[in-house]
């Protein structure tokens, strides 16, 4: 008998499951029409001691002339601290860390030797993821101006929130109402503002039809994401996915609960059908987030890339990690290829509302190195017939009984994770 193991499919783009939401850490400024709504914001955060590199994915879909991004930063950034990054980095990290399905096929239950071995799980392959003067009057100072790739960037410091709001309006950034109030805490903490808009000429030169991710780095003890600013014009819950690459261990929040999503359970095999896993994951996440009243941070994935035998997915190469902002892996010119790297990746998924996340998200790095993945198992029953079991009928009937039991368990599991109707699930199972 052979153990046909593991094929997995989870096609689940991070962006696939967010309700439309208004913003990022920082906010897109523009006409308040639907075209500027972005879906799940995605950030890659590299943390090494007091050094932070942030890469922000722009899935902005409105008119380029209207695009603007405002992010509070702890220091005035230099030209060298800002670059545009390759969007493929997000695709790779998403694919590597996305929630996944693993499939197993039962062996012939009448072959005892192999039946016992069947329970030993082999490592599933992961999902192919697509997985001047007036300024002075306003108390605003332009600390620096750069053009980086398709972006025109200014770094502002401000002494009054009203002044900053006025400056932004006068300079063609459309600020949502209430911005001054949201900006004030950052001004009071003497933070600077990283403000970007699209340089249309440069954008045309790039030849890309999309905006590339902006990446910048700074040194500061602050290990946080300014999520509050993005909530100014938010309606309802927003999703944020943070990929943190660090050296030591799992990253979690210090001012909100960090919770692992329920995972590693067996679910009905019909989830293999196209689109079903995405539908399941979205329903499951909705339910878990609702159960926690949108006030927790979920861990979707944590993996130590230095220890990888066997690998759940091809870990990022040194070149890819460097593109994401990891400075401590040696640039080997791609010689090493995929393999173990001294980097740990934490994937956090937050669904927050204005009310449930009154403070910015503060993070810290623990020394936890226990790997975790949101992985769900499908186990296909053996498809042979009773005639292949002549001579071992007792084993055959025992096996049939155990399959019925575990399918019922899987159905109940699915119902409790998603809130779907158990009768529907059983019906679909029996098809």
């Amino acid at each position: 008998m052979r153990i046909t193991a593991a094929a997995a499919l989870a096609a689940l783009s991070a962006a696939a499951f967010a309700p439309p939401a208004a913003a990022f850490c920082g906010f897109f400024v523009g006409k308040a029409d639907a075209s500027l709504f972005n879906e799940a914001s995605q950030v890659v955060m590299v943390r090494d001691g007091g050094k932070t590199t942030l890469t922000m994915l722009n899935d902005y879909k409105g008119a380029l002339t209207e695009f603007a991004l405002v992010v509070p930063v702890p220091a005035v950034l230099k030209r060298d601290d800002i670059r545009v990054a390759d969007k493929a980095v997000f695709d790779r990290i998403d694919a590597y860390s996305a929630p996944r399905l693993a499939e197993y096929y039962d062996a012939n239950p009448c072959d005892r030797r192999l039946y016992d071995r069947m329970r030993v799980e082999s490592a599933p392959r992961p999902s192919a993821g697509r997985s001047g003067s007036q300024e002075k009057a306003l108390g605003v100072e332009v600390e620096a101006r750069y053009t980086v790739g398709e972006y025109d960037i200014v770094i502002l410091s401000a002494s009054q929130s009203d002044g900053l709001e006025t400056w932004l309006v006068q300079n063609g950034y459309r600020i949502p109402a209430g911005a001054a109030r949201a900006l004030r805490p950052y001004i009071q903490q003497n933070m600077k503002f990283f403000v970007a808009k699209v340089n249309l000429k440069e954008q045309a030169k790039t030849g890309y039809s999309y905006l590339r991710p902006l990446q910048f780095r700074f040194e500061s003890a602050r290990f946080m994401l300014p999520v509050r600013l993005g909530m100014i014009n938010a309606q309802g819950p927003q999703d944020l996915i943070v990929y943190v690459l660090s050296r030591v261990g799992r990253v979690e929040s210090t001012n909100y609960r960090t919770v692992k999503l329920p995972a590693n359970m067996e679910l009905p095999t019909f989830l293999k059908q196209p689109g079903e896993f995405t539908r399941f994951y979205r329903a499951m996440f909705d339910r878990q987030a609702g159960r926690e009243k949108h006030s927790v941070v979920f861990t979707e994935y944590f993996w130590d890339m230095a220890w990888c035998d066997p690998c759940a997915a091809n870990p990022l190469t040194a070149a890819e990690l460097r593109e994401a902002g990891v400075t401590w892996v040696a640039d080997d010119g791609g010689r090493r290829g995929p393999g173990a790297q001294p980097v740990v990746l934490t994937r956090l998924h937050v669904r927050y509302t204005k009310e449930t996340f009154p403070e910015d998200l503060v993070l810290h790095e623990t020394k936890d190195r226990e790997n975790f993945q949101t992985r769900y198992v499908l186990r296909h029953p053996w498809q042979g017939s009773v005639f292949q079991c002549v001579g071992a009928l007792d084993a055959y009937w025992r096996y049939r009984g155990s399959v019925a039991e575990r399918e019922e368990r899987a159905a109940q599991q699915l119902a409790s994770l998603t809130g779907w109707d158990i009768a529907d699930i059983r019906r679909r199972q029996s098809r």
Partner: protein
């Protein structure tokens, strides 16, 4: 977590019951006469269960069992080695519970090691007959700063005002019994005042302050760690000053230096002030009251 009165503490004398005609009054006196650590054990135990069952603490039962085994063994060792008569096991239980609730680890050896070290510190690190470090505080600091594969999760309780109030109720009972309510409230008052000032200066909405104050970690610290009568100054005035200093340190650490676990670090780093304050302003050392079972 309030710890123990060991060698020569002279604790253990129950306030002799004056004639108490009514059963209710008798029951009240009996209640007041109980060792406060019994309440602590009860409350910390329920917190541990709450965390493990409802808050999916990343904690394994083996870690808890090993922490208890090692903590109690350490206590037994010191009792025998030093020939102590009055020392019991209540505060060892408190320490083991505290270690289990506050320390996280990805291995099995961290909890027993820290429980044993924390218990031993009470006997090994003493100034003028008083142990210096709050054992659970020491355990958390070692976990954060020294032990590989160990950490603390200040966010693990979430911020739920109802839970916060629940904690306060529990804590009030314990600290009232321990007669050191003042240090808890002085700390909480000073810390809340600093947070409120920050909120006003930054122009944040009150929701921020409520969120910060209703975190379980802060309340646990307030009512079960800094309120330890054995590791705070003996006299009231220095005790209040000490509490305020810890609050100020915690605030600076967390909101100006952007480090984590401010209160825990504050208590640890300012611990040397306690023997200094006791030397400058001598007072009677706390003695655990109550009919604590003695070995």
């Amino acid at each position: 977590m309030p710890a123990i009165a060991v060698a020569g503490a002279g604790g253990g004398a129950v306030a002799s019951a004056a004639p108490a005609p009514r059963p209710a009054a008798r029951a009240w006196q009996a209640w007041r006469g109980l060792d406060a650590r019994l309440f602590q054990i009860l409350f910390l135990g329920s917190l541990l269960l709450f965390g493990a069952l409802l808050r999916d603490f990343a904690l394994r039962w083996e870690q808890v069992a090993l922490a208890f085994a090692a903590g109690l063994a350490a206590q037994a060792f010191w009792i025998r080695a030093l020939g102590l008569r009055n020392a019991g096991y209540l505060s060892a239980l408190v320490t083991c519970l505290g270690t289990s609730i506050l320390v996280r680890a990805d291995s099995l050896w961290v909890h027993p090691l820290l429980a044993a070290v924390a218990m031993s510190s009470k006997f090994a690190i003493r100034i003028r007959g008083k142990h210096v470090f709050n054992p659970a505080n020491l355990a958390v600091i070692l976990a954060i700063a020294a032990v590989p594969g160990a950490w603390a999760s200040p966010g693990q309780w979430g911020s739920d005002v109802l839970i916060g109030l629940w904690f306060v109720c529990l804590g009030v009972t314990v600290t009232t019994g321990a007669k050191r309510l003042d240090v808890a409230w002085a700390f909480l008052g000073a810390y809340a005042a600093l947070l409120a000032a920050r909120m006003l200066i930054l122009g944040q909405p009150p929701a921020v302050l409520i969120h910060q104050l209703s975190g379980g970690a802060l309340l646990l610290f307030t009512f079960f760690m800094i309120s330890d009568p054995m590791t705070t100054p003996n006299r009231r005035a220095p005790r209040l000053v000490y509490a305020a200093l810890v609050a100020a340190f915690a605030f600076v650490w967390q909101f100006l230096l952007f480090e984590t676990n401010g209160p825990v670090w504050g208590l640890f780093l300012l611990t040397p002030l306690v023997p200094l304050f006791d030397w400058l302003w001598p007072g009677a050392k706390h003695a655990w009251q109550g009919a604590a079972p003695r070995r």
